[in-house]
């Protein structure tokens, strides 16, 4: 009977992982819709192809080697079977693999509308096989950074569900890509003024945001890594509650700031506010109270509005969907907010962790982007860009029937 109870715990934990994993997988749809809504219609089919392709590549390459690097499990998962200790190994892999896909999705939005599709796929394959698993190994994997220092043991670095490990990492790779790619044609005039390039389908972008919001319950909730005890159940519940509260706080703060600053309730800022709230709470959704979670999210919502404007207009970093601001800048805020409610973490430790992740991911990505540029080129020609990458890369149009301006 003792055994039956253990089995039930095992079953419940496994089930919980699978359900949470399915929610995170759903985020792939969220990123696709968000990005498809925020690009111009002539680049929509390509970004859809990019998103479904990168998800498939991430799932496959992480199976081939990434998971083994990060947690063990064997090349081609040959060391993995259904069976695990307190829950199924297969469920663990399933849950982890959707995280790496999330990190990769962040990149796809930032380099949208001008990048060669297959160069991106090569980047995705290498990022998900090595770049991400390596920093994952140093953090969640518990290994020391090139044998020099240990983020966990030496610095008490805490990143509950990946504000830094997943989101900021994705943003770092994106930033490297954007710097090398340069802005979209026509984005800045001779005087350096930023010209808005409107997303073609905001309902789609809103749907994507809602999907991400929903999927995030799996992202954060699943990161408790256990369900089948009172303690872990309570923890998961608090994480759900706080994740929701932070997203709500992000929306409200971004909307109010937009209204105050621009005079209008800019929908794109509300959407970014929701995502910023979610990114902000991800590093520590377990310790704050609901009120504090709301505030952490709200600060994220404020930061993202400023960051988008500054990146776009002052730094002239052209990020069509705002991924670097949402996942990178706010991801850092999320890491730094952890010590506010969790005494096990320290600002210094969080900064060292953030720095380590950033330097590694940004540095290796930069090299990889440069290598790809030399080897196969990463940017489509000016004319192809003008015609839209849908035609050049996919040969078809996303909305072939609708007349577009």
């Amino acid at each position: 009977m003792e055994n039956q109870i253990l089995e039930l715990q095992y079953a419940l934990d496994t089930f919980y992982f699978l359900v949470m994993g399915a929610l995170v997988m759903w985020m792939a749809a969220g990123f696709s819709m968000l990005e498809a809504g925020l690009v111009r219609s002539k680049n929509t089919a390509e970004i859809l192809t990019k998103n479904i392709g990168l998800f498939a590549i991430a799932c496959t390459m992480y199976m081939v080697y990434g998971y083994d690097l990060m947690y063990g499990g064997g090349l081609l998962l040959d060391g993995i079977s259904g069976e695990g200790e307190t829950y199924s190994n297969a469920a663990d892999f399933y849950f982890q693999v959707v995280f790496v896909a999330t990190a990769m999705s962040i990149v796809s939005g930032a380099v949208a509308e001008r990048m060669k599709l297959f160069s991106f796929f090569v980047f995705a394959a290498i990022f998900t096989t090595i770049i991400y698993p390596m920093e994952g190994l140093w953090t969640w994997g518990g290994a020391s950074v090139f044998g020099i220092y240990s983020l966990g043991d030496d610095f008490g670095f805490l990143d509950f569900a990946g504000s830094g490990i997943v989101h900021m990492a994705g943003a770092a790779a994106a930033l490297a890509g954007v710097l090398i790619l340069g802005p979209r044609k026509g984005k800045y005039d001779k005087d350096g003024n930023s010209k808005p390039m409107l997303g073609a389908n905001l309902p789609l972008a809103t749907l994507g945001t809602f999907i991400l919001w929903m999927g995030w319950f799996g992202f954060n909730g699943g990161s408790v890594l256990a369900m089948a005890s009172k303690e872990s159940a309570d923890a998961v519940a608090m994480v759900f509650l706080n994740t929701n509260a932070a997203a709500a706080g992000g929306v409200i703060a971004a909307l109010l700031l937009a209204k105050a600053w621009f005079g209008k309730a800019d929908l794109t800022m509300a959407l970014n506010g929701a995502l910023a709230g979610l990114v902000a709470i991800t590093a520590g959704p377990d310790t704050p109270s609901a009120l504090v979670a709301t505030l952490i999210g709200a600060v994220g919502g404020l930061i993202v509005v400023f960051s988008i404007v500054i990146l776009d207009r002052k730094l002239r970093i052209d990020d069509p969907v705002g991924a670097i601001s949402v996942h990178g800048v706010v991801g850092l805020w999320g890491l730094l907010a952890v010590p506010l409610t969790n005494s096990s973490a320290s600002f210094v430790g969080q900064l060292v962790g953030a720095g380590t992740i950033f330097v590694w991911v940004f540095g290796t990505s930069l090299l990889l982007w440069l290598g790809l540029k030399a080897a196969m080129g990463i940017r489509v020609s000016e004319e192809e860009e003008e015609d839209g990458v849908d035609l050049t890369e996919c040969g078809l149009e996303a909305y072939p029937e609708f007349v577009t301006k």
Partner: protein
Amino acid sequence: MKMVTVIIQPKRLDSVREGLSEIGVTGITATEVKGFGRQKGHTELYRGAEFVVEFLPKVKLEIAITDEQVERVIETIIACCKVNGGAIGDGKIFVSSLEQVTRIRTGETGPEAV
């Protein structure tokens, strides 16, 4: 025969169509166009950046009529489009000459084909 081309505010389309029907116009071709004129475009916002949309949505009507109808048609259009004493953007009427009109269905040509 004349071709009358009018640029109007989209919201006036229904009343112009009704007005022209009443005075016996039996055919109209309408096109969505963007107009750039004395009326200034409006300001939009996107991710915190303001910008001006220069071209405003307008409707272009093309109306082929006989020479005698010209005056009435112009009067009617003005009556339907200049509603509150006239405002910038109310529109413009262009008249040009039409050499020939053919109804495909019957092959009729000239004024009876209009």
